[in-house]
């Protein structure tokens, strides 16, 4: 295997990880501030992708599509927060799991009802399509490079938001002590709606960005959701930094595992069974990673509480 291929795969793992980060960041914020587990986060990812596809189809502009995705997911998030989620903060996790499970059913089937059963079309904008040559001669998709850049910018923006702004202070206060934000004179229900909408917007953004290189279809959010859970377990609940590190770890493990494990088994097995054993193990690799982190640090790499 050439070094070029390995380098390209590392980039791929990075890009995959960054997209997972956008999902996981929203989830972990919502959990950190409101103590809520939200299974319907994957639906917001899907809503972002569908909104982007619909607007791109109508206007032909990818930028408008991204804005629409952010707006639609944030609006859906805010709406759901006000109508449903708000009633769940004081409830047990069990209730939160079930109510948000119900939301998945409603969102998925409503989307299918609105948009039909076939996948929608959303393409990479003209300006970003095709490969570029990186130093060292690696040919790499410009769009994927852009995704990595956007993800890093968003991550940086989140750090700034949380460490420098008024909203960030309130979020941190909410994470460490819920009574304290009330004492600070903050309108808690407004803060909660904003945080939830922010998390939703991040998921929607991820959905739209990923939708352009994947298939925009009902049910696209749930596999990503479960990976985002793995990311959060690894990184530690409530920690944006943990989400970033966890996401990149998962992205790299998944991508490199799929490449290296079959090669590894190929050393002492025939080609076909090496491929199938390697692929089977590769599909389990991130869960094994999660199990190892759990044994070593049950509260995750950057988790404050277990």
């Amino acid at each position: 295997m050439s070094l070029l291929l390995l380098a390209e795969q590392v980039l791929n793992g990075l890009q995959f990880g960054i997209m997972l980060f956008l999902m996981a960041a929203g989830l972990t914020l919502v959990f950190g501030v409101m103590g809520l587990i939200n299974l319907a986060h994957g639906s917001l990812f899907m809503i972002g992708a569908f909104a982007a596809a619909a607007v791109a189809g109508a206007t032909g502009s990818f930028l408008l599509a991204l804005i629409a995705a952010l707006a639609a997911a944030a609006a859906a998030g805010a709406l759901v927060e006000v109508l449903v989620i708000r009633r769940l903060y004081a409830r047990e996790h069990l209730d939160q799991v079930l109510a948000t499970f119900a939301l998945i059913l409603i969102f998925s089937e409503s989307t299918r009802w609105l948009f039909g059963s076939f996948p929608l079309f959303l393409n990479i904008p003209e300006a970003l399509s095709g490969p570029v040559t990186l130093p060292g001669g690696i040919q790499y998709s410009l769009y994927r490079l852009t995704l990595i850049a956007i993800g890093l910018v968003v991550a940086f923006g989140l750090f700034l938001l949380i460490s420098r702004t008024r909203l960030g202070i309130q979020i941190r206060a909410g994470e460490s002590d819920r009574e304290m934000i009330a004492a600070l004179g903050v309108d808690i229900s407004k803060l909660y709606t904003i945080v939830f909408a922010l998390g939703a917007a991040l998921a929607g953004l991820a959905g739209a960005l990923v939708g352009a290189i994947q298939s925009v279809q009902v049910g696209m959010g749930e596999p990503v959701l479960i990976l985002a859970f793995v990311v959060i377990v690894i990184g530690g609940i409530g920690s944006i930094k943990g989400a970033l590190v966890g996401a990149i770890l998962v992205g790299l493990t998944d991508t490199l595992g799929g490449l290296l494990l079959p090669l590894f088994f190929g050393l002492f097995m025939d080609n076909a069974s090496a491929t199938s054993t390697g692929s089977a193990l590769a599909s389990m690799s991130i869960y094994i990673l999660m199990a190892i982190v759990l044994v070593v640090k049950p509260s995750g790499l950057y988790g404050a509480r277990a």
Binding site: H93, I104, L105, I226, V233, M284, L294, V295, G300, A306
Partner: protein, 327 residues
């Protein structure tokens, strides 16, 4: 007799009488539906031990349901093709005998629950939910890529497995088996709740600190509860596979975990007969709503949402009132 006991008896009786009526009317499909209710309720009874008694919100019970199913699928498919499962170090052959299959299903799912539980129970709360979900998903992906046993296609068993003295292909007789097992599990779970173990587990849910300071380990109590819970759900998986004469990775999917949990909530959390009421309601809804609209999941979702938000005690809680029976 409390009101809840009355409702429980009525439920058990209804679950028995409906198939008998269907038998008399020659409506075998109704019997099949009732069998499905009994099996899914059994899976729920299993989860309820972890969830209701132990307070362990496991979103990964599909793992045990699936393992039970595959225990049946693997044993029966080898018996059906007259091939040995392994001939080293000892010869292990397949079997079509239900009691043997159940035993293997119980052991295999118990072992899996021990491993998953030992890791997951190091954490609690949301972590526990996400970790169990992830482990369940791991089994799903493994089953899909396990080509030896059908991968995504699953395994078909052409004839239902046998039980000494019964004709299991006759819907009413197979129903009888599942009904008796369900009753046995309900009885076990009722006794468990009142046993020293149940007392300690229940206390560990309410106040883990207290349990530690009297010298017991909440971790070990929960682990044992998780294993028992997984075993019962695994047994249900083996029966479900036998009902369908088919197993596939779908049994491992996280939606399955969600649905088992939905039975409990629809029926009433920590109520003995909650899973029975919930599974029955779910199957009836699936049957009626599924016939009304392609998009029936929307209505199911709305109903579930309403129950969670406004009718906390589920069916039994609403009928029997808030108070729970105490000694």
């Amino acid at each position: 007799m409390t009101r809840e006991t009355l409702i429980n008896s009525a439920l058990a009786l209804a679950l028995l009488l409906v198939p008998l009526w269907a038998y008399a009317m020659d409506e075998p499909f109704i019997i099949t539906l009732a069998t499905k209710v009994a099996i899914l309720a059994l899976a729920g009874v299993g989860l309820n031990i972890a969830l209701g008694l132990g307070g362990l919100v496991s979103l990964g019970h599909a793992a045990f349901f699936g393992i039970g199913g595959y225990a049946m699928g693997i044993l029966a498919s080898h018996a059906q093709s007259y091939t040995a499962i392994t001939d080293w170090p000892v010869l292990i052959e397949g079997t079509k005998s239900m009691p043997v299959i159940w035993l293997v299903a119980l052991l295999a799912s118990g072992l899996a629950a021990l491993l998953i539980g030992a890791l997951s129970l190091r954490t609690s709360g949301v972590y526990f939910i996400m970790i169990t979900l992830a482990f369940g998903q791991m089994f799903y992906y493994f089953a899909i890529s396990w080509a030896a046993y059908g991968g995504e296609d699953g395994l078909s068993i052409y004839v239902r497995n046998s039980f000494p003295g019964l004709n299991t292909l006759d819907p009413i007789q197979f129903f009888a088996i599942t009904f008796v097992l369900l009753l046995a599990a309900l009885l076990f779970s009722a006794r468990l709740a009142k046993s020293p173990f149940g007392l300690a587990l229940n206390a560990a849910r309410q106040s883990p600190q207290r349990v530690e300071t009297i010298g017991l380990s909440p971790y070990r109590l929960r682990l044992v509860a998780f294993v028992i819970s997984g075993m019962i759900t695994g047994l249900a998986g083996a029966l479900f596979a036998d009902l369908n004469r088919f197993v596939s990775p779908t049994m491992f999917s996280w939606q399955t975990s969600g649905e088992i949990m939905v039975f409990i909530i629809l029926g009433g959390t920590a109520r003995l007969f909650g899973p029975v009421a919930g599974a029955a309601l779910f199957i009836i809804l699936e049957h009626i709503l599924g016939g009304l609209s392609e998009f029936w999941h929307i209505y199911l979702g709305l109903l579930l949402l309403l129950v969670v938000l406004f009718a906390k005690g589920g069916v039994i809680g609403t009928l029997a009132g808030r108070e729970k029976a105490h000694d």
